[in-house]
């Protein structure tokens, strides 16, 4: 049934939630990070602007007096701020004081070498005394501090987002479980038991949503299947009754004719005043003999139509023979020859009456096919054989073949090629149901090469009588 490997909705949802959670929290954190970065950079730039303005004012007097010690002190103080990576102060008379933060956080007095990397932010300002330039101050700002802050911010943000989304996912999953997955599981269980023809289970879900509707719809469907099945059974029983009446008619025709003739003969004796007691006794005895016949027919049919409640250990050949007691006359009246090839000798444990019903349906169909198509030398061949596990029965006629499209449908309920009067379309359907469901075997129909159709039944050798 399943062509794909099975994976439950639960697994799919967990997978989707995982992917969803990860990507949403990543996207959100990334967005948050960029916004924060822009903001912090802007703030830093404002700080640097303030810092350099203050520096340029603080450096006016030292630069004017060219007090290198003082300048150095100011620069050192400024370098205490960790965001400052380097400072360059120039003054008159080639004064140049450089401060630089080395990789191991020490401050060294060394003016820029050529290969110094471009700083994150660099600001230069002239130091003016009475509107006259007396020097410049340059501050380099590194982004280490900024990046560290941003990274911490990113981590905490990501963690919070992730937590929130995981929480939401769990809530969503639980809701899915309660409202969809668990009810679905319940429905699925019932569907599976219904597939195995157990229609006693109902889905017990009271929800005012689509799932509730599905459960309700499914229950209604099961009920209608049960109704339909009941109807099928009662229709097929009616059909079987009709069949029985027609077979009894065949069976009774001869005895009734003999009895009537016997009575006619008695009447003639009276009419001719022939009171020969021997003749009268003979005739009366013949009439009685015939009534025994009639009564036996009734017994045969009553046995046939009372289904057995228990399995019996029977020989399939015997079941077939018993069948001919019932339908044989009807075949004979239509001049149909019977060929029997019995090659099975192991009794099997089955519901023999049900098997008889199957045989009757197939034999009846074979008879009708032979009569309707006016086949010459109509013959029905019944053969049995067996191997280690199974008993095989085939019932063949020498009539016409069945076209392929019809052959595919002959076991469908209500499928019939006969007119409404003669066929209910249930006989073969019931036969298949009986063989598969009750006798645990299989049945098929195939055309023969030389014309005619064979019905093949395979029954497992269930010899275990303890079942």
């Amino acid at each position: 049934m399943h062509t794909l490997t099975y994976s439950s909705i639960r697994v799919k949802i967990i997978f989707l939630l995982f992917i969803g959670t990860a990507s949403i929290s990543s996207l959100f954190s990334y967005y948050n990070h960029s916004v924060k970065k822009a903001y912090m950079t802007h703030e830093l730039e404002k700080d640097v602007d303030r810092k350099i303005t203050r520096l340029s004012q603080n450096l006016v007097i030292p630069l004017w007096e060219i007090d290198t010690q003082w300048i150095d002190m100011i620069a050192d103080t400024e370098m205490l701020d960790e965001v400052v990576s380097a400072m360059i102060i120039t003054g008159e008379d080639n004064l140049k004081i450089c401060k630089k933060r080395s990789t191991n956080e020490e401050i060294i007095n060394l003016c820029a070498s050529e290969k110094e990397e471009t700083p994150f932010i660099s600001r230069s300002l002239k130091v003016l005394h009475d509107d006259k330039e007396i020097g410049t101050v340059t501050v380099h700002i590194s982004d280490h501090q900024l990046n560290n802050a941003l990274f911490e911010n990113f981590i905490s943000n990501f963690a919070i987002t992730l937590l929130i989304i995981i929480f939401l996912s769990i809530a969503l999953y639980l809701a899915l479980n309660i409202y969809i997955l668990n009810p679905l599981k319940k429905i699925l269980d019932v569907v599976q038991s219904a597939t195995n023809n157990d229609y006693t289970q109902k889905v017990d879900i009271r929800q005012n949503d689509e799932i509730g509707e599905l459960a309700h719809g499914f229950n209604t469907m099961i009920n209608s299947i049960l109704d339909k099945e009941e109807m099928l059974i009662s229709q097929s029983r009616q059909a079987a009754m009709g069949e029985m009446i027609s077979m009894i008619a065949h069976q009774w025709r001869q005895p009734i004719t003999v009895i009537a003739m016997g009575a006619n003969n008695l009447l003639i004796n009276v009419e001719l005043e022939n009171s020969d007691s021997e003749t009268i006794t003979n005739t009366a005895n013949k009439i009685l003999e015939q009534t025994v016949h009639l009564s036996k027919t009734i017994d045969d049919f009553r046995n046939f139509f009372s289904p057995n409640k228990h399995k019996e250990l029977v020989l399939v050949n015997d079941v077939i023979e018993e069948n001919f007691e019932v339908i044989g006359k009807s075949l004979e009246n239509n001049n149909i020859a019977l060929k029997k090839e019995y090659n099975s000798a192991t009794p099997i444990f089955i519901y023999s009456r049900e098997l008889m019903q199957v045989f009757i349906n197939i034999l009846k169909n074979a008879k009708e096919a032979l009569v309707e198509n006016k086949i010459k030398n109509p013959t029905i061949t019944v053969s049995t054989k067996e191997d280690v596990n199974n008993v095989y029965i085939s019932i063949c006629n020498n009539g016409t073949t069945i076209p392929g499209d019809i052959l595919l449908k002959i076991f469908d309920p209500y499928f019939t090629t006969k007119d409404e009067k003669n066929g209910t379309g249930l006989g073969l359907y019931m036969s298949k149901t009986i063989v598969e469901k009750h006798l645990h075997g299989s049945i098929n129909a195939e055309n023969q090469k030389n014309g005619g159709v064979c019905f093949n039944i395979t029954l497992p050798k269930e010899t275990d009588t303890n079942e």
């Binding site: 003969n265 001719l272 001049n335």
Partner: protein, 142 residues
């Protein structure tokens, strides 16, 4: 003289052929016919019936329809082709849904047949049977 004795006397010269495949029915019915007719022969199927008919001239043939080998319909058709004067009566079970008009016959009776019904069916055919019987006798005489 009652109706039966009248019929016995009238049809004393007529040869009758009875064809029926069921043995018990044939034996019992033969007793019945022997009480009515003087000369009655019986056959178990259409083929035997035809053979007998070809040997002797029968004035009346009474037959079942469903029989092995040659069935009643076919036998009656062939008898009619051999002799158009012979009276043909069908005596068969009613469940076969037979359209009597399709079959060559002078009368049709459903089994089981009642004694009086049989006599009444035979009454109107009596003259025809006698004519045929007389014709056969004149043919046989020289």
């Amino acid at each position: 003289m009652n109706k039966l004795q009248q019929l016995q006397n009238d049809l004393a010269t007529a040869r009758v052929l009875y064809v029926e495949d069921e043995e018990e029915v044939r034996i019992m019915t033969l007793t019945f016919f022997n009480n009515i007719f003087t000369h009655v022969d019986s056959a178990a199927n259409g083929e035997e019936g035809l053979e007998l008919f070809k040997k002797k001239p029968y004035a009346l043939v009474i037959t079942d329809l469903n029989m092995p080998k040659i069935d009643g319909r076919e036998m009656l058709k062939q008898i009619r082709e051999l002799d158009k004067d012979t009276v043909l009566i069908i005596m068969t079970a009613s469940d076969s849904n037979i359209d009597a008009s399709e079959i060559v016959c002078d009368a049709y009776m459903n089994k089981p047949v009642r004694f009086l019904e049989f006599i009444e069916t035979l009454e109107p055919l009596k003259e025809k049977i006698l004519r045929k019987a007389a014709k056969s006798e004149t043919k046989e005489l020289p």
